[in-house]
Amino acid sequence: MLDVAIKNLLLKRRNGFRTVLKDISFSIPVNNIFTIVGKNGSGKSTLIKSLTDLLDKRFYKIDGQILFNSQDILLLKKNELMELRQKKIKYVFQDAINSFDHLKKFGYYFNKLTKNLEETEELLNFFFLPDPGILFKLYPYEVSGGMAQRISLVLVLLTHPQIIILDEPTSGIDSPIASLVLLKLKEFASSANNSVLLVTQDLLFAKRISNKIAFLFDGNLTEFFSVPDFFDNSNNEKLNLFLNSYTEIS
C-alpha cells in the first residue's frame, strides 16, 4: 500500500522556485495497477521519482508525505531508504540501457542478485531473451534498447519487490514484446501484496493493463478513474483534448 500526499514539489530556479507538482494525493491499494498519463513535460517522471525521494535535493524541494506501509518515505534514514529502494520499491526507467554500467557484463548484475538460476532462466525465457549462457556474457552496449528494458524488468522481478514503478514501458519496443510486459505485470500485481504504478503515453496499453488511470496536467493530477470512466470523461476539457488527439492518431 502506497499513500501519496504531496502538497508541493518545487524546482529551484535562478530567481526563486517554480511549482512542478501541486496537491497530489492518491493511494495505490495492493494488487492494483495504477497508471498516470499526461502530456510531455507535465511532470510525470518527476512525480514517480519523488516517490522514493530520488530527486536531487539541490534542485527540488518536496513538501508532503509518502507513506509506504504506514511509514513516511521522506523521513527515512539514508540506510533505510537504500534498503527500501533495493528491495521494496523498484523502478524500470525508460532509458534502461543507461541504467547499466557499460563496462560490466549482464552476468555481473544477475549474479549479484540471485543464485536461483532456474527462476532467472524462466523469466528470460518468458521475455524471449537469450539464455543465461549467452546473455550473461554480453555488455549493455551489445543489446538493443528494447532488450535492455526487458532485462531491467527481469532484474527487478528477481528482487521480488512489493511495488514496481515503470516509466514508459512500451516506448521503443514492438507490440508483441509490449504484450509480454503487460502479461507479466498483471501476474506480478495479482500476487502477494504487490502493486504497480506506471506512466505512459500509450493509451491502449494503459487501457488494457490498468485498474485505474489518472491524468496529470500542469502539475495537477485528476483522481484515479476506472478505465471506462477515464475514457468517458466529458467534463474535463483538457483530458478531452488529450483523448481526442489519441483517437485521431490511432
Binding site: 510531455n40 532488450m147 521503443g172 514492438d174 509490449a178 503515453q201
Partner: protein, 258 residues
C-alpha cells in the same frame, strides 16, 4: 519521379570477441524521390543501424548504396540527415537556438538572407518566436525535437531519416508531428524514411513499408498491401499483437511461426 536511393546487398557485421555477429543481412530496396518510406520490425532487428549506414554515420561491411545516382556521399553538403530519438544531443545546450539554425544555413548554402530563411523554417515547423532565443537546455523534449528538426532543415537535406520520432510523445504531439512531417515532405520536397514501432502512425505517414526481422527484410510493399494482406507470418504477428490482447500461448505460438 526518379529514384533517389538504392541499397544493394547491404550487410553489416560486428566482431564480439572471437565471434562475428551479423546485424544486417543483404538489405535491398529502392526509394523514389519525395516518397515517405516506413521501416518497422522487431526490437533489435537493426533498424537504427540501417539508418546510420544510409546516412554514412556507420560504414557498411558489404554492398552498395546509390544516392542520387552516385555511390559516394557529398561530405560537404551532407544531403542525408537523421533526426535521432535523443535529439537533445545534437543541440549545443548552451547556445541560442536561432544562432544554431542561422549558422547551419550559412554553412550549408550561399543563402543571400539567412535570417529570412530561418524564419521560414521556424514558421513551417511551428516553432514560436518566444523560443528562438532560448537555449537547448531550456526547452522541453518536444520543443527540442522541433529545434533539432529546424537545424536539420537548415542543412537542406534531400533525404531525412526519422528514428522513432513518435515514441514517448503524447498523443497531441504525435498528431502534430505527423502533420508536420507530411507538410515538410510537400513544402521542401524532402524524401523521408521513418523508423517506428507504431504501425498505425506509419500507415498514416508512409506510402511504402519495410518490415525488418533479425537483420533481414522479410516483407516490403505498399502501405495498404501490408495492412490489408500481410504475407510474412511475422508481419501478421505484429499486426495481431497491436491490440495487446494476445495470451502468452498465442504470443509464443505466433513467434514460433514467424
Amino acid at each position: 519521379m526518379g529514384e533517389i536511393l538504392k541499397l544493394e546487398n547491404i550487410s553489416y557485421l560486428v566482431r564480439s570477441g572471437k565471434k562475428t555477429i551479423q546485424i544486417l543481412d543483404s538489405i535491398n530496396f529502392n526509394l523514389e524521390e519525395n516518397n515517405i518510406l516506413g521501416i518497422s520490425g522487431e526490437s533489435g532487428s537493426g533498424k537504427t543501424t540501417l539508418a546510420k549506414i544510409i546516412a554514412g554515420v556507420l560504414p557498411k561491411t558489404e554492398g552498395e548504396i546509390i544516392f542520387s545516382g552516385k555511390n559516394t556521399l557529398n561530405k560537404k553538403k551532407r544531403p542525408i540527415q537523421i533526426l535521432f530519438q535523443n535529439n537533445g544531443e545534437i543541440l549545443n545546450p548552451l547556445r541560442e537556438i536561432d544562432k544554431i539554425v542561422e549558422e547551419a544555413i550559412i554553412i550549408s548554402s550561399s543563402e543571400y538572407n539567412p535570417r529570412s530563411k530561418m524564419e521560414e523554417i521556424f514558421n513551417s515547423i511551428n516553432f514560436p518566436g518566444h523560443l528562438w532565443k532560448r537555449k537547448g537546455y531550456e526547452l522541453s523534449g518536444g520543443e527540442q525535437q522541433r529545434a533539432a528538426l529546424a537545424r536539420i532543415l537548415a542543412a537542406n537535406p534531400e533525404l531525412l531519416i526519422l528514428d522513432e520520432p513518435f515514441s514517448a510523445q503524447d498523443p497531441e504531439s504525435q498528431l502534430n508531428l505527423l502533420n508536420l512531417f507530411l507538410s515538410i515532405n510537400k513544402k521542401f520536397n524532402i524524401t523521408m524514411i521513418c523508423i517506428a514501432h507504431n504501425l498505425r502512425i506509419l500507415q498514416k505517414l508512409c506510402s511504402k513499408i519495410i518490415i525488418l526481422y533479425d537483420g533481414e527484410i522479410i516483407e516490403e510493399g505498399k502501405t495498404e498491401e501490408i495492412f490489408n494482406s500481410p504475407k510474412h507470418p511475422y508481419t501478421k504477428f505484429l499486426l495481431k499483437a497491436e491490440n495487446y490482447d494476445l495470451s502468452y500461448e498465442e504470443l509464443k505460438y505466433e513467434r514460433k511461426q514467424s
